[in-house]
């Protein structure tokens, strides 16, 4: 029984980590708490669903389309809203509120367009294969979700650690001004970051949509809370922290739901968070970065 729960936890945790990765990337590079990340996540799953049901696209193509659509939305938000605020040097509270506005607009539009009811991928489009490992019932879908999430995260890690682009992004995270003086195209990389983060969020949306097979306009809210929890846990702006925090939250949630009551799981998670913030506000792995606007 425990092994089965561990598999569920791994699946859920890897999607949380993927979602939180985009969230923390934007915070690290742009210093913005992007509260529209949950709405972007929701858009990803609707786009994939539309591609599968309307155009009979295969799942991989639907996922790609969802990533492009969500990424485009993220880019649009950055160009139209966050950039003017950067130019104006607005205090950090202001971009966060602007992204709340975006989240409201996007959620309300999809509710108007698709209705509030739960949408599902047609059964025949999902990989139905499964097998047993010992006593554990493994769905191929779950394996695929974990594999995709970890693959994307690995690509991001390697990009950030090993490439010129990654070095430039890390320089911006330290200080955009200094990075600019070193000849880095800071604005361009802000756009790239917004696109990549939103695309990762959109893919996370598709993966959750496939795992639970229930898509609603409101599905972005709970995961946004989880995302906030994960980046506090792992340290805000910390990539490695997002991975470990995401997996940890997935495990905490599944295990406490299985062995405690379903609601107490969240209470334990957020209570823990509250404590961590009091004792170690920088998160388990992060450093406190004070950046004055």
């Amino acid at each position: 029984m425990l092994e089965q729960q561990l598999l569920n936890a791994l699946t859920l945790g890897s999607v949380y980590a993927l979602f939180a990765l985009g969230f923390t990337l934007v915070f690290g590079v742009l210093a913005v708490i992007n509260l529209s990340h949950g709405a972007v996540f929701m858009v990803g799953s609707y786009v994939a669903l539309a591609l599968v049901t309307q155009l009979d696209a295969p799942l991989w193509a639907a996922m790609l389309g969802a990533a492009l659509a969500s990424g485009g939305l993220g880019l649009l938000v950055d160009v139209l809203i966050l950039k003017p605020l950067r130019v104006r040097n607005a205090p950090h509270l202001i971009p966060m509120i602007a992204t709340i506005g975006v989240a409201i607009m996007v959620t309300s539009s999809s509710q108007g367009l698709f209705g509030a009811e739960i949408r599902r991928f047609p059964e025949e489009t999902l990989p139905a294969a499964d097998f047993m490992v010992g006593a554990v019932h493994v769905r191929v879908l779950e394996i695929a979700i974990v594999a995709i999430a970890f693959l994307l995260m690995a690509v991001l890690f390697i990009t950030l650690k090993r490439t010129q682009l990654g070095r430039a992004l890390r320089a911006i995270a330290e200080s955009p001004k200094a990075a600019y003086l070193m000849g880095i195209n800071v604005e361009g990389l802000f756009h790239v970051t917004s696109f990549v983060a939103a695309a990762l969020g959109g893919i996370a949306g598709v993966l959750i949509g496939l795992d639970f097979n229930a898509i609603t306009p409101q599905m972005g809210q709970p995961i946004l809370h989880k995302g906030i929890a994960v980046i506090i846990l792992g340290g805000m702006g910390d990539i490695r922290g997002a991975l470990i925090g995401g997996l940890f939250l997935g495990f905490a949630e599944v295990i406490s739901k299985a062995y405690l009551s379903s609601q107490m799981g969240d209470a334990v998670a957020f209570g823990l968070l509250f404590l961590i913030l009091l004792v170690r506000p920088s998160g388990l792995f992060g450093r406190v970065l004070e950046r004055k606007a």
């Binding site: 202001i94 506005g101 509710q111 209705g115 957020f270 506000p281």
Partner: protein
């Protein structure tokens, strides 16, 4: 008076809600005026609502004492969590207070005395229009006096530059705690008022979204004055009602207004200097 009675019987709940939201916006203005980005006000409102409703339902206290208790309970909670929480600043404080809000919400969701997810039903109607009006006036008057007092100037100094304020001999920690506790008190009273005209309260009303909504109201209206938050609360509460004909799309307008104000009116809608300049130039901003 015929039309007024018609209007009142249809819209009194809406008017009450506007009043309560104005109180909430003022409560977050208080912490913002001290430079604290605290998002605990929805939780404080919830504590006030539940404490007051339980006192009315189970202990049968009189309404004024219930209101007072609804304010004092969250103020005490603020006092207890204030010392550790207020060591944090900026976004960390925002996150910690959001996490605190989730802890409160989930606790209420799981307790038996609070009715769990179903909430509390059948709270007797006790709030009247003049209660809300009077308390709003008191809050306005009190906060306006506070702004011009030594305390208000200390808040402003802390908001502008905490280190400089400390060097000027201002006891920064104590003033921050004062703002946090007073904000909790006002939010708690708003919650108690709210519980006694909606008949019904549930944990859902005090979670993440309301916390963010309250902040949004204050920032939309403008935090430079007391009028701003009240105006923002009025607009964000009434707009969805006025836009009912848009059905599912109506909150789209709320979001768009928010984005546009943030982009084009950096100090919020209510900015006396800009409005005066607008009229002096004969309508050309």
């Amino acid at each position: 008076m015929e039309w007024f009675n018609d209007f009142w019987s249809t819209y009194s709940t809406l008017v009450f809600t506007v009043g309560v939201h104005m109180l909430l916006a003022l409560s977050i203005w208080l912490t913002l005026s001290c430079g604290l980005l605290s998002l605990a006000n929805a939780a404080f409102m919830g504590i006030g609502a539940y404490v007051s409703a339980l006192l009315t339902l189970n202990a049968g206290w009189a309404f004024p004492t219930v209101l007072l208790a609804g304010g004092i309970a969250p103020a005490l909670v603020a006092l207890v969590i204030g010392a550790p929480v207020l060591r944090l600043s900026g976004v960390y404080l925002a996150m910690a207070t959001l996490a605190f809000g989730e802890v409160v919400r989930i606790t209420v969701l799981n307790l038996d005395i609070t009715g769990g997810p179903e909430g509390l039903n059948g709270i007797p109607l006790a709030t009247e229009g003049w209660h809300i009006a009077l308390l709003l006036l008191l809050a306005f008057y009190g906060l306006a006096r506070l702004r011009r007092s030594k305390v208000g100037r200390a808040f402003e100094a802390i908001k502008e530059d905490e280190i400089a304020a400390r060097l000027m001999g201002i006891n920064v920690n104590r003033y921050k705690l004062l703002a946090f506790v007073l904000g909790g008190f006002i939010a708690g009273i708003a919650g108690a008022l709210n519980a006694h005209f909606t008949f019904f309260i549930s944990p859902r009303e005090y979670g993440f979204e309301p916390a963010v909504d309250i902040l949004t109201m204050a920032v939309l209206g403008g935090t430079g004055s007391l009028v701003g938050p009240a105006l923002g609360a009025g607009i964000l509460t009434l707009l969805p009602e006025l836009l009912r004909f848009l059905h599912d799309f109506r909150s789209l307008v709320n979001g768009a207004v928010l984005v546009l104000v943030v982009l084009f009116l950096p100090k919020g809608i209510w900015e006396p200097r800009r409005i005066r300049a607008f009229f002096r130039k004969g309508g050309q901003a």
